[in-house]
Symmetry: C2
Subunit: 278 residues, 2 copies
DNA sequence: TCAAAAGTGTTCAGCATACACCCATGG
DNA sequence: CCATGGGTGTATGCTGAACACTTTTGA
């Protein structure tokens, strides 16, 4: 079979093709945006002002239009720009937001309206401005500890009172739990932590990120040495910390930018816990 | 707002809801099934007997019907049962196949027919029977080295001649490359290798799996010690290898089953390569 | 002067690696 | 008896974790 003949018959096939022969369903993109505010890991949520799930927290998202030339990652970036206030900040800031696909959620009745396949994206950003009110309700950065998700608290902070009693819409609790676990894991073997701080940053700021995401204190001096020893994780820049001096004194810290490594060798492992097997 | 009032208004909303207000697109599930045959990592492919992409290799897959109560993972299991010959093998074998979501591919024109969102699943199985001819063409287990994917060969086996010149349909080359990289990575920190061997297995068989997937020889005695030292990776069973004796002599090896660990601590790291940073 | 945080030195235990070696088995 | 592969012992070098300590700053 020649290539031309194949192309021709493919064209003939497509001319006679009827899209409605295939089952139409809806596809949307939901974005789980994480940042750190006041040393707490926060997720961007919208309090829905309409049905379904009116009054619940929901992840920002949008449907994928069949005619939209954007691929899902581009849709996610668009959602993020509209819902975080990132549309107002500089392009440089926008470019530093890390976006990656988390997973796709398509159970039969996860949305009461119709069959909806949701492609979830995970975004990591340094402290961003307060979000604007979006098309579907009021947006806010919510500390993950206030969501009362057992998967997130992990038997650790169970004494912590859930500050928000609002429920999460659809299956978004599961998406959030999956995303946070992904973030915790990727801190270990990628330079993801650098995505949560503004450059240039100090090693102490970076350590604070790790402590916030993992939810446990780290050994400061060993962390310091480890970060500097991993090739490509950070690169030193001239000057020392000036604006962000220590609240009650202490030496001015050196400043760094993220390096060019994409994978960390060796990894920055979180402290081993007792329930080691699993 | 009381819960009842909210429920009532949600019901009223849904009664007035028209699904066609939302943009219909198609969603499908593609399965990247990996196994090891003759010490080579192989992927299940179908030679398409129809347009589009007639004559190309394609991953087995199926569309998700909006009325289908199955979630995407169940669709993937169904696809696998239909296309691998797993429908003929015992339920015990079927239950031991590991299935996980790989990622979702939804670029605008990845399928010439219409906008199709493809949810890719990754399946790992011990050596399975030859596949049957499916609805869309002849299925076969194809060694990944014959696909000529640079991402897979990784500058290592470039001398190896690509045995198959057939092209891959749609964006399936990308899906395969992503899936193989996922498999290589997960060998390190999960008991995934055990999914590729029939139980009970010997440490040598397990080592052969690692060597096939990583594409490089391992130090036999250190591997042996390491496997036994990782808690929960394998558990010993009574008896020694009888049927699968060494071709040219050697002691009979002890037999093991996979343990109950889900994550390996410490991990089984692949040998460090020179291009360490990336 | 004191508290807090940055950063360095040092020790020690555990692990990965390499190599030597013995054993069991089938040809 | 010899090649092959299973399995154990052991020395070595590196890394992570812990601890002590000095330095730098602001209150």
């Amino acid at each position: 079979m020649s290539n031309e003949a194949q192309t021709q018959s493919e064209e003939a096939y497509l001319a006679s093709y009827n899209p409605l022969d295939y089952p139409p369903i809806a596809a949307c993109v939901d974005v789980l945006a994480l940042t750190i505010r006041d040393r707490k890991l926060c997720v961007l949520l919208i309090e829905r002002d309409r049905q379904p799930a009116k009054g619940c927290w929901a992840l920002p998202g949008g449907f994928i239009n069949a005619d939209d030339p954007a691929d899902p990652a581009e849709v996610a970036a668009r959602v993020l720009a509209l819902k975080t206030g990132l549309g107002r900040v500089s392009k440089a800031t926008f470019g530093r937001v890390h976006l990656e696909q988390l997973g796709t959620y398509g159970a039969a009745h996860r949305d009461p309206r119709m069959r909806v396949i949701s492609i979830a994206y995970l975004a990591f950003a340094p402290d961003l401005p307060d979000p604007e009110t979006g098309d579907y309700g009021v947006a806010a950065w919510v500390p993950v500890t206030e969501l009362g998700l057992p998967e997130v608290l992990g038997d650790r902070d169970v004494t912590q009172a859930p500050g928000t009693s609002k429920k999460l819409a659809f299956d978004h609790a599961q998406i959030i739990a999956d995303g946070i676990e992904r973030a915790r894991s990727k801190l270990e073997y990628t330079p993801l932590g650098c995505a949560f701080v503004n450059e240039p940053f100090t090693v102490g700021e970076l350590r604070s990120v790790y402590e916030s995401v993992w939810g446990e204190p780290l050994h400061a001096s060993n962390f310091h040495r480890k970060v500097l020893s991993v090739p490509g994780l950070v690169t030193a820049v001239e000057g020392k910390d000036s604006t962000r001096a220590n609240p009650r004194g202490g030496p001015k810290a050196r400043l760094y930018r993220r390096g060019d490594a994409r994978l960390l060798h060796p990894a920055l492992l979180r402290p081993a816990r007792e329930d080691d097997i699993r």
